[in-house]
Amino acid sequence: MSQHHPRVHRTPCGAALTVPAFHQRDRNQRINMDCSPISPAAVGIRTCRPDRGRLLRRARRLAMSAAVMAIAATFLQSPVRLQAQAPYPPSPDTTPRFLLASSDQSGRQKTVDVGRTPLLRQRISLTLHDVSLEQALRAIAAESGLDIAYSRTTVPLDRIVRLDARDITLAEALEKVLTGVDADVVFSANGRAMIVKRPPRAGGTIVGRVTDARSGAPLEAVSVVVDGTRAGVLTGEDGSYRIAAVPAGEHTVIARRIGYTPGRQNVTVTGDQEVTANFELSADALRMSEVVVTGTSVETTRRQLGNAVGTVDAQEIAKSGSVAIDRALAGKAAGVMVQQNSGNPGGGISVRLRGTNTILGSADPLYIVDGVIVNNDTPDLIYLGGYSQNRLVDLNPEDVDHIEIVKGAAAAALYGSRANNGVVQIFTKRGMAGKPRLTWTSTVHADQLRKRLAVNTYPFDAAGNPVTRYDHQDVIFHTGVGTEQAASIAGGSEASRYYLSGGYVNDNGIVRASNFTRASARARLDQTLSSWASLSVGGAFNFSRDQDIPNGGLGSLYGAIDGFLFGPNTYDPRPDSNGVYSHDGSYANPAEVIDKYDFAQKTNRFIGDAHLTITPIDGLKLEYTLGYDGYDQRATAFIPRGTGTPGVYALGYSQQGSRDFTQVNNDININYSRQLKPWLHSTSSLGGTVQYEVSNSTGASSYDLTPVTETVPSGANWDISEYRSTRIVEGIFGQQTFGFGDRLYLTAAGRLDASSVFGEADRWQAYPKVSGSYVLSEEDFWGESFLGRIFPQFKLRAAWGNSGGLTAIGPFARFTNYSPVSYENLPGLVQQRQQGSEIKPERQTALEGGIDATLFSNRLGFELTVYKQHTKDLLLTRTVALSTGFSTRLENAGEIDNNGVELLVRATPVAKSDVTWNTTLSYSSNRNKVSGIEGGVRVLANSWGLAAAINGEPLGVYYGAGYARDAQGRILDKNGDVFTDPKTQVPGRDPTPRILGDPNPGWIGSWINDVQVGENLSFRAQLDGVFGNDVWNYDARIGAYPPYGTLDLYGQELAGDIAAGTGNALWLNFERWVEDGSYVKVREVSATYTFHPRSFGISDLGVSLIGRNLYSFDNYSGYDPETNAGGQSTGTRGYQFGEVPIPRSFVLRINASF
């Protein structure tokens, strides 16, 4: 990559510039003028005689071509000669052989005896200072009179050689200039010399073992590759590897694993021999050498990055025991908040990177899988009570190799108008050359309700009549048993590598009859087309199926848990002996909902990608990526006629909704990387993207069904809907990075972006970015001072950038639209809303700075980041003067700030030969603030009017009536006296809405521990904590309200432990129902035993016991403070209302490699 191209001034052949071979075509044409082919058959082989005049003209032409290249870095070259190439060490493997062209058909070539060939013995004198090989060959030809023919494709003619010789033989001269070129000199019958590529020599094998430098423990899944070739393997669980068929010669072997500093070793491979290269890798607490792609446009090591990047590897995902990728991300990186909104098996997840940056739009990050922008929408095709799947659930976590998480400004240049919420890029596994490696994973897990609500057991009703009370949770919840199977096979040759996998998940929820099934298959082929081109093609098919039970939510209340909460719990929900369900409840009978409703969703999805990579010359890389993501989701809902569901649903209800979605992205990326000077490295990128997104949704529903029938047409009142959407995004970007002496890196980038959702005037938006990284510990003064002893590694970084947000605006929201109406059976049009043609994307300016450093001889590393994100031009519908003829208009108004701190600490407290303990602590705090909202307060949709965006406050604060309080803030009772005794006093209410709580946590943290004991046993534990957030506990509110009275709170009121009338008084006192939602959860605990049975072809066998969400330390009185009945909604957070709680899972996982 960093091959030096020293400048040439004067050579015996004249002046020439060193030019990358980008303009070869031009150069070849010129060469044809002074070279003639030796035979028609040998196209491209030329003999050359020196011609100084022509060479000079050619040089000028080449110089002009160089200028045309116009990559900024090129201009920075100074015309100063830098250094001479070191002489090549003579070695039989690297020096050319002198052969005679074979005259027979055998193809065998006879070696020329150099000493007996007068031509080769003739003596010449030459002074060649750092000229190209081509020029050297010309000079030798001119000096000796020998015709020398060569082909550009076999001989690296740009290679810089040096020859300062007086009175040496021609053979010696040729030997010197051709050493290391991997070429032989073949003499034809007419005495011409042809420089030909040396035929491949027999390959050898490299074997070895990779261990942890500190503990000596074997390292599994280390990628070992032979540099410059495609040969590479992963180490097995005992740390060993074997790479066969490595061409003879000198090679560098590189061993890489995330979290370790890469190891490099030079080996000499000889034919049919085995050489050993063992590695001891040192844990790299800062992961400074880790290569990152996301947000950088070209593979970049962390040390060069001006921003924090989170990475999560396959091991961490596997050990999480989670069926969804986003769920597994919880706690794995700083600044990443993962919230599971529902405890259903396919339940929705919200991911927030550095807070929420929009009000109307989606606050989830952009997801990219292998370069394909994948859709993570949450289509609510049927209403399931706030629970809806986000479509990332279609992906199989077993296929994930690693994940990169980029937050803030860093994402700007590459993802432009889609980058406001950050980017999560998922890389799937790939095949490596070598014998097929088969893996199989089988998982069984049992999920159960972690905590039950205490129900009202008081045996009398309010009138004092005896009643029988039931716990309806008995008919709703059970232990759900699920299984997961996954298998993969990977392998290939150096030229063609493959990875094939299949997976099947059958997951039963803790609500009876709820089930999630996913079948997936993935294939990837990496094909080397030539030494300069390769192609990678991948595809994944996923089929997801969901059997749902509606529960809770902010919309309709026909679910099972609703039935339980609204009660009353004085009837037996189970069917009687005739199969008849009691309809004594306020809402649906939960047992009837579970037994008789049929709500289901199916999704078929294909995600495919193709990448063509071309490296025409050293340092230049062109990449073309085509990505496709398409899915069909179909949902059906059926409530039979005659259930106890309230309202029209009792007449029977049928609904179906479907949505097809297609997204295509075309990306082209050109990178040019060059060592301009020994102390200056440059990487330049240019790229472009075109993205299409098309979706169609249709829905139909009807009430009042004909008995027995289930489809929509059997109902009496129909409602149909359809919506079609198209979005197109185009963008171009450029990026320039300079690396100064491997310690200071400066990057500037810009992206120009256009999206079809915006009007022409505001369509094209520019998003600039600058960042810098300074590895201070590389400086001499650092290493020599006490700082170097305290912080062996120390890096400062900063980044600033702009990005945009697209999701807050519908695809056609900029048009003044007219809706179709019918009037007296005539078609009519009525205006709908006012145009927003002057609207532009929400724009974020992000600034971050940080320190990455290690302490205690690199045993502890930390990354500290402080960031400030300001998003302006928030898209909001504002009211307009009614005299315009309109009521509202979508406009850029409002702003959101997110300021915060992230800290990640990685340490190895114990590193002994038999015990290694790695620990990771992460801390993130974020402060969100909304401003610039018209009128100061905007109540958010789908929040029952109880969540708002308020100027100066975090988004989604709870806003409503609370306790009556006196001037000292003491709660008053309903008579205006200070409330002290709940047993005798009923609290008073102040109807004026005020801020009652904040669902946004003050800070979140996690603590992950990995302990390896001996070679076979490992343990892992992860604690996740969320602090300072509030939760609406509507479950308690309903259960305490006398007409429903299902929970213990009302039982206490009946028993007289709470003053009579309290439940009624608190019904509209929302302050009572806002609770502290802080928690610390035992998110993951696992023990894994791995061994190597070496029988049945099994190389590694691992057995893991995993516990997930085992316990939660919190003061919350409801099920779980983590769920959200608002689903994946941006502003409506922390609503607990009949949502299925997140289960406790016990997982047994067996994996085997063959």
Binding site: Q24, R25, N28, G44, T153, S530, W532, A533, L612, I614, P616, Y624, N666, I668, G688, V690, Y692, E722, Y723, R724, T726, I728, E730, A754, S755, S756, E760, R763, P811, F812, F815, T816, N817, Y818, S819, P820, V821, S822, Y823, E824, N825, L826, P827, G828, L829, V830, Q831, Q832, Q835, T879, V880, A881, L882, S883, T884, G885, F886, S887, E934, G935
Partner: protein, 438 residues
């Protein structure tokens, strides 16, 4: 050769990317609804816009205006306790610009005005046949007049144009009514020049709307409001007394009184047509109301069941009442002190039987026997208007114009003289006048 492949590959990639970029236009059209720029260029869409204008007025504007002003002028009472409803019923200070109903009334009329203006501007640009063009233009003028006229019944000052720049000027009621009348004059002139086409009459105009007579009826109405008494008499005489004209309703567009007073009973009709002057034996009371012992919530006013033009979801609502023309003459003559003609007109209303009225409205009362003074006659005109024009959205205007007791002295017959301007308008349009005191 490799070089050739390499260069070709690079070329292909670049070409592919270029084509990809060129092939996709960022101007995506919306298949779900019609965008304005397209609507205004299409003959069919303009026709549909004219249909939509009538649908929107009948479905979204008429009911909001009639029912809310009905509560203000005590024709109706609220029967649910939503914030806005309570404020309308309380009136006085309780009714301020933050009440959503103020925005609904003002905004609805402004949307009608804007759509009418679009039609007036755009129809001449499109190649319609002359009869269709004249029909749509006349219709748009009629609705412009109606929107402005409606606004003058409830607001002290009103805009006469919609203004996209949020800077619409407000005009006095008299000036605004002059503009409304000018629209009606234009409509009449256009129809006189070119008769509407069959296409207009069958595919655009609402089936039971009598365009010419409605134009003249509104000319008479607005001239009367302005005090142009001769013009009002003249225009009222142009209306064919046997003609009827309706806003139609159908299964998709339900009669708003049926929805809010018959079906949901969110509002209710007060006993005796909500007028203290209603005479015993007036048969129009039983035309509109069926006696019922119920009382309203929360005010406990006695309420009756509503019938009349509101018995079903598809009952049409008259665009004007033929008797209004007679009462316009009665009022104008009374004001001109031509008492004999005034009394004759009043008597023709008082003695009219259901069979004699095209809409079946008959008071069937004895002739007028009161004093022949302007004041007494105007009181009698009000009495008759309250019954003859019950739920025509005119009670507030009549009560004010005919000098009935009102705020601040009394809230019994009307609780506001004029409505406050919607806060939403005030926030965004600097020309919004100060709110009237009451």
């Amino acid at each position: 050769m490799h070089t050739t492949i390499r260069n070709s590959a690079i070329g292909l990639v670049v070409l592919g990317a270029t084509l990809g970029a060129a092939a996709c236009s960022l101007n995506v059209t919306d298949p779900n609804s019609a965008s304005e720029d397209k609507v205004l260029q299409s003959q069919d869409a303009i026709q549909a816009l004219a249909v939509g204008l009538q649908q929107y007025y009948a479905n979204n504007v008429l009911g909001t205006l009639y029912i809310n002003t009905g509560v203000t002028s005590r024709e109706l009472t609220i029967n649910e306790t939503y914030l806005g409803q309570v404020a309308i019923e309380e009136g006085g200070d309780q009714l301020d610009g933050s009440i959503g109903e103020m925005a609904s009334i003002f905004g609805g009329e402004m949307e009608v005005l804007r759509t009418s203006e679009l039609l007036l501007r755009q129809v001449p640009q499109i190649a319609f046949d002359p009869g269709t063009r004249s029909g749509i233009l006349a219709l748009a003028h009629l609705y412009s007049a109606r929107a402005i006229g409606d606004l003058t019944t409830v607001f002290e000052q009103v805009p006469i144009h919609s203004d996209p720049d949020e800077n619409a000027a407000f005009y006095s009621r008299n000036d605004a009514l002059a503009v409304a009348i000018a629209h009606l004059d234009s409509a009449a002139r256009i129809l006189a020049d070119t008769a509407p086409s069959t296409l207009f009459n069958s595919k655009i105009k609402s089936s039971r709307l009598d365009l010419l007579n409605t134009i003249d009826a509104y000319r008479a109405r607005y001239h009367l409001f302005r005090g142009d008494l001769d013009e009002a008499i003249e225009a009222s005489e142009d209306v064919d007394p046997a003609a009827t004209s309706f806003f139609s309703y159908d299964a998709q567009n339900l009669n708003p009184f049926f929805e809010d007073l018959v079906q949901s009973r969110s509002y209710a009709a007060r006993d005796d047509l909500g007028s203290p002057l209603t005479e015993a034996g007036d048969k129009r009371v039983s035309f509109f109301l069926t006696s019922d012992p119920a009382v309203s919530n929360p005010k406990q006013y006695p309420i009756d069941l509503l019938g009349g033009f509101f018995t079903s979801g598809t009952s049409p609502i008259p665009a004007y009442i033929p008797g209004e023309m007679i009462l316009i003459r009665a009022e104008a003559y009374a004001r001109q002190h031509v008492y004999d003609k005034a009394v004759a007109a009043i008597d023709s209303i008082r003695t009219k039987t259901a069979a004699q009225d095209p809409l079946g409205l008959g008071a069937d009362l004895p002739p007028y026997s009161g004093a022949e003074t302007e004041e007494a006659l105007l009181t009698e005109v009000y009495r008759q208007r309250a019954a003859e024009l019950y739920l025509q959205g005119l009670r507030l205007e009549d009560s004010r114009r005919l000098g009935r007791p009102g705020p601040p002295a009394s809230l019994d017959e009307r609780n506001r003289n004029y409505y406050p301007y919607p806060d939403q308008e005030r926030r965004n349009n600097p020309n919004t006048p100060a709110n009237p005191a009451n």
